[in-house]
Symmetry: C2
Subunit: 719 residues, 2 copies
């Protein structure tokens, strides 16, 4: 029997591993056991007393007996063909070229003329339906074309293989033995009925399950493979596999207008997270979230009826459940579990308003890390140190691991390390669950999505590095573990009036993307409200191409606020005399090398009042500015590093006029951070580096003392 | 007496330097003497036999006795105030702030309400004339404002000090002794009359002058100073000092519509060379060129009446005379003289269709180069080697130097070097004047200006380096001395049909500038004509942001032609598998390090057919592509270097399908080039480097032999 007081830890297990499982449960103080993709829990393990049994449940895949009876109800996409340049009066477009035939086939059940569109991309116009024909045998669309115009076909497709199972299947080379999971769409009648009946049967058949882990509900994020069975397109937020004529007809009834294929295709950009969402697309998201949450609620209610708990995995078929959306709460979930790659991905989970949040830590117990000669504790340490910063500001309720326990078992050094992690986590939880962590300022991140994509900004594929993202997501990562209250707002929020309690607004992103904001900066109300906010004393931080839109002589529309603008070529005739760096500035005091990430070139100071903090390569790379009673800070980029984290913290204090609060719960050395719980008179110092560090540390009253702390360690202090 | 057969060289002279002048004329074989700004030619020198006397003449400045009588006819500008953010309901704008009061004053003679405009730059709208008032005492415009909107004042100003004299005056610290030249505008009646009468008087008074050098005619290019008497704004092509209400009223009569201040202000960009010209601005250029050429013709006719020759200096008050414009020829000039900074600036002069072209070489005989311990022959060599390449393809008729001959006289090594230059120039001229240089391909540079700005692309201030220009002007510099016929075309030319004899079209520039082309790439006719040209066998070269306009899923509108496009953030979800460089390609055969200049990031190959020539920093930096029967080449940038010159030559041959012609009149070593005159069975090898080089050289039949050539040298061969 496990000491439940320890708890808060989920471990995977598997067949033929009973004794070792007991040993591991005791050693790590785990209180829950889960299955994984590719493993199952045998009865003996399910019978272990005092532990909860988590069981995976797939509502809309993995039931081929049913799925094969309803081919018409398989999942669908709107997809775009290659861009084809016509050279004749007629052009044949093999629209399936580039797609994986095991995953994608044309949907000819719905009349193509009613649902597909052919686009002349040169004109940006739909080609008349009379001017194209589909050859359903050859999967070719034949179009009457204007030579040297470019054409694409928007077509409706069946997704006939569940993308996640497909990924696992191909990656692990499961071969012909394992059937392809056919995904089906609960928008259609039989599937809708099936998922509920099937769940109820399953609940009856699985009495030992304590917690049902939905993985997930109905619609997979966009994950499309190419002809070589390799990933072609991925979007963790993508709604493109939630599409169906049924949904579109339903949408029309509710919203009064008909969505077209192009509303989803979006010139081939598929409304990615970086695209400024159209009103139509936002309507569709709203529509799907309403539907998914109400349907998911029915499944959760069934789970509760059988006295089990229902949690969902944040990933896979999570489309429509966005936890910061308006309807998530209605689902009635007991918890959310998700993968933790770093601080920002931890915050995606830990900030959700739900009774229980659980983070699954890295590495997974898979052979790619757990092979002879490798030390998986290295990745585990990196993961824990990044996650811990964030945990201290916004706690998870539980942590866990996934994969093959039998593999991890062979790496005792790793087991030692995660034992320490589990203990440290529980210690943090004990404190952080009793009080709120100290916050020095309230920061709002402004982009086109706002609240709905809280901590999801800059994400393409969850947890992966992207060249046009890392210079900005570094800012998010820095904030995820900083003593700041962080909120996400969009341009409607700015127009509705900026909340009084916001100290600093951050706008960070490449020009014309959803994270900078594009044409929102043509809206006078957005501009005047932001200017007023700063002029009256607020702080503004711009990173990359903040407030960028080439208009009326300016590229940065808030050039007046930031004291910098960008030379785009047109105004090279103006002499730029303001190039002198300020040598000693509050913001850059702890900075040695400024590692911005990707260059955003040709920024210049608009006047001699601009405080240039970094000038190199004939451009301003960092600047501060006074604007009325307010202040701003501009930085070219903010790739994640401990130095940049400090830079950002200093910048926030500076623009918020809270310089005097910097040395409260603060460590001089940039490798250390302090997290405090003033109501409990406790604070801890964490070492985020792989060095042993000695540093002056300040408590909440500004009293300093010296602390010695080992690499990666955490030390608690009483005030 | 000078041996006129030598000739083709103009030297400056000055007072009290008679004997040395004679010595220098003989030594260098000069046949003309000129004055300079700050020197005059005494009578004894004007009497030297066998040399022409060049005398400077300023039509519209330097006549203060007259100018002071017509203050209303002083030169004018439309200028923009600073961008001012309103914070109240009324905002006072000190519109002259940032201007140099000795140069710029408000013009209150014309009613401000009729000619000025106040702009709300947040809305992009003109503020009603009822909502602002001018305080003429304080030079303030008081505007009824919407708080947190940004405002500017477009005001009409007098330019009361000639910008070139002002520059020389301030730079050389001439102090109060030398009066400020007041510029006057020949659009106005008294000035119009004065310039002709004054010239005629002057011609009568200067019988010894053989050649009148107009410096120049009526309108100075844009050159505006700031409050610190330093350059604030410069545009060598800028028409902003050619503006007047008189001209606008005349324009209205001719073109049927009224230009506004904003047509000139252009959001503060003043229609710079990098701006895509509006139809209204092109109309204005046409209007001014017509006027200037007809008025200049009257002056030239007067010069001819007195049996002198009339040449103009290409610079200073040259606005309206653009030599590649429609009306230049009408002026009837005998020649053009201009400053030669490198090959491209030489070609600006040498390609002009006029009886005589003369290039003024560097360095000027001024103390900034000619001081003890410095070796001015270093700059002279660099200048000559760059210019010589271009001369060999498009000859000048004469060369010359400026400044103080007495200064240069003290540097015998320098005099030796320019003696060699003069001899080498005459030798080249002897040959190149008798036959046409061999050209391997015809290349058309496509931008929004086309022919009118032949060799003027990318120029801001003549001969100066600009951060957003050098990656492209390197291509121009390379071409200026390459065995290519070079022509300049605009988008109307493309629409009218691309000439059959063009082998290769080059489009090079930053997105949305006049040199890339911006919204011209939304014009289906432009796109289809370019595609057809390449598809049917033509060559296309794109540099930087060619054909760039974010539209319908593409950033490069000719992504299909080039096989590359740019990731702007929206489509990061697409996997980019095509990253493998081709190791051995015709284009990159002689390239070791690719020095592109400024990075244009995030280019990717659109298919596996794209030939990637350089992949670094997760992006395609150089690529080739097949398109129908045609080919393309993409490069991120092409800063000037000998290696890049070879790269460009190879790329042109490749896309023109003329690889077999590469090794004709060709040197293996990139430091050497070959210029040939097949009609004379002569060719020469030039060494463009500071190294002695031994290389295989090919004649026109492809026969090879080894050549040894000293640093910077030229060797002639017979075929």
């Amino acid at each position: 029997m496990i000491d439940k007081k320890r708890g808060r830890l989920t471990l995977p297990s598997e067949a033929n591993f009973y004794d070792e499982t007991i040993e591991m449960l005791e050693r790590l103080g785990a209180d829950a056991i889960r299955d994984s993709d590719g493993t199952y829990l045998p009865e003996d393990i399910k019978d272990i007393e005092g532990v909860d049994i988590y069981t995976n449940f797939f509502p809309s895949r993995g039931h081929n007996d049913f799925a094969e009876t309803v081919p018409f109800e398989r999942s669908r996409y709107f997809l775009i063909s290659d861009f084809i340049t016509a050279t004749e009066d007629t052009t044949e477009i093999s629209f399936l070229k580039g797609y994986y035939p095991e995953q994608i086939i044309a949907d000819y059940d719905y009349e193509p003329k009613d649902w597909w569109e052919v686009y002349d991309r040169t004109l940006g116009e739909v080609v008349s339906r009379d001017d194209w024909e589909v050859d359903k045998e050859k999967n070719i669309v034949s179009v009457k074309t204007i030579p040297y115009h470019v054409y694409t076909v928007n077509f409706l497709a069946y997704g006939i293989w569940d993308p996640v199972q497909m990924y696992n299947h191909i990656t692990n080379d499961w071969g012909d033995e394992v059937a392809h999971h056919i995904p089906f769409d609960v928008r259609y009648e039989k599937s809708s009925k099936f998922v509920e009946e099937n769940l109820e049967n399953w609940l009856k058949e699985n009495p030992k399950t304590d917690v049902v882990r939905f993985t997930t509900f109905f619609y997979q994020f966009s994950l499309i493979f190419n002809e070589d069975a390799k990933e072609k397109y991925v979007d963790w937020f993508g709604y493109s596999n939630s599409v169906s004529p049924e949904a579109i007809l339903e949408f029309e009834k509710e919203y009064g207008y008909r969505l077209t294929s192009e509303d989803f295709i979006d010139q081939g950009f598929y409304n990615s997270n970086y695209r400024i969402p159209s009103k139509r697309y936002l309507d569709y998201i709203d529509f799907q979230q309403k539907y998914v949450s109400s349907k998911a609620k029915r499944l959760v209610d069934l789970v509760h009826k059988y006295n089990k708990k229902a949690i969902m995995f944040l990933g896979d078929h999570w489309i429509g459940t966005e936890p910061y959306g308006k309807y998530f709460k209605n689902i009635g979930l007991d918890g959310v579990v998700g993968s933790v790659g770093d601080g920002a991905t931890l915050r995606i989970i830990s900030d959700i308003d739900v009774p229980m949040t659980e983070g699954r830590f890295l590495p997974y117990f898979f052979p790619d890390e757990f092979y002879e000669g490798n030390d998986p504790s290295i990745e585990a340490k990196d993961n824990w140190v990044k996650a811990r910063r964030a945990l201290l500001r916004s706690p998870l309720d539980r942590i866990g691991y996934g994969g093959y326990l039998s593999l991890a078992y062979k790496f005792p050094k790793f087991i030692d390390y995660i034992t320490k992690v589990a203990d440290e986590f529980r210690e943090i939880h004990d404190i952080s669950s009793k009080a709120t962590a100290y916050k020095s300022c309230k920061v709002a991140i402004l982009n086109s999505w706002g609240k709905i994509r809280t901590w999801g900004a800059y994400v393409v594929a969850h947890g992966k590095w992207f060249k046009l993202g890392y210079s900005y997501s570094g800012m998010m990562e820095a904030l995820s573990g900083m003593d700041m209250e962080v909120t996400f707002i969009n341009f409607d929020d700015v127009k509705a009036g900026i909340d009084d309690d916001i100290d600093v607004i951050i706008n960070a992103g490449d020009a014309y993307t959803a994270f900078s904001g594009g044409d929102s900066f043509l809206d006078p109300e957005v501009l005047t409200n932001l200017r007023k906010f700063v002029y009256e004393g607020g702080g503004f931080i711009g990173i990359g191409d903040p407030t960028a839109y080439q208009h009326q002589g300016r590229f940065f529309q808030l050039a007046d606020v930031m004291g910098v603008d960008v030379e785009k070529g047109f105004s090279q005739g103006y002499d730029r005399y303001f190039t002198k760096e300020i040598e000693d500035h509050f913001i850059t005091k702890d900075l040695e090398d400024y590692v911005y990430g990707e260059e955003r070139p040709n920024v210049y100071a608009t006047s001699d009042k601009t405080q240039i903090l970094k000038y190199a390569n004939n451009e301003v790379q960092m600047a501060a500015n006074e604007y009325g009673k307010g202040r701003s800070f501009y930085a070219m980029g903010l790739a994640y590093s401990l130095e940049n984290t400090r830079l950002l913290k200093r910048a926030i204090h500076y623009v918020a006029h809270k310089e005097d609060d910097l040395e409260k719960y603060f460590a001089k050395d940039v490798r250390l951070e302090v997290a405090a719980y003033p109501d409990l008179s406790k604070y801890c110092v964490i070492n985020n580096s792989t060095d042993d560090v000695k540093s002056i540390v300040y408590d909440g009253k500004g009293n300093s003392h010296e602390v010695e702390i080992e690499a990666g360690d955490l030390i608690w202090f009483e005030e």
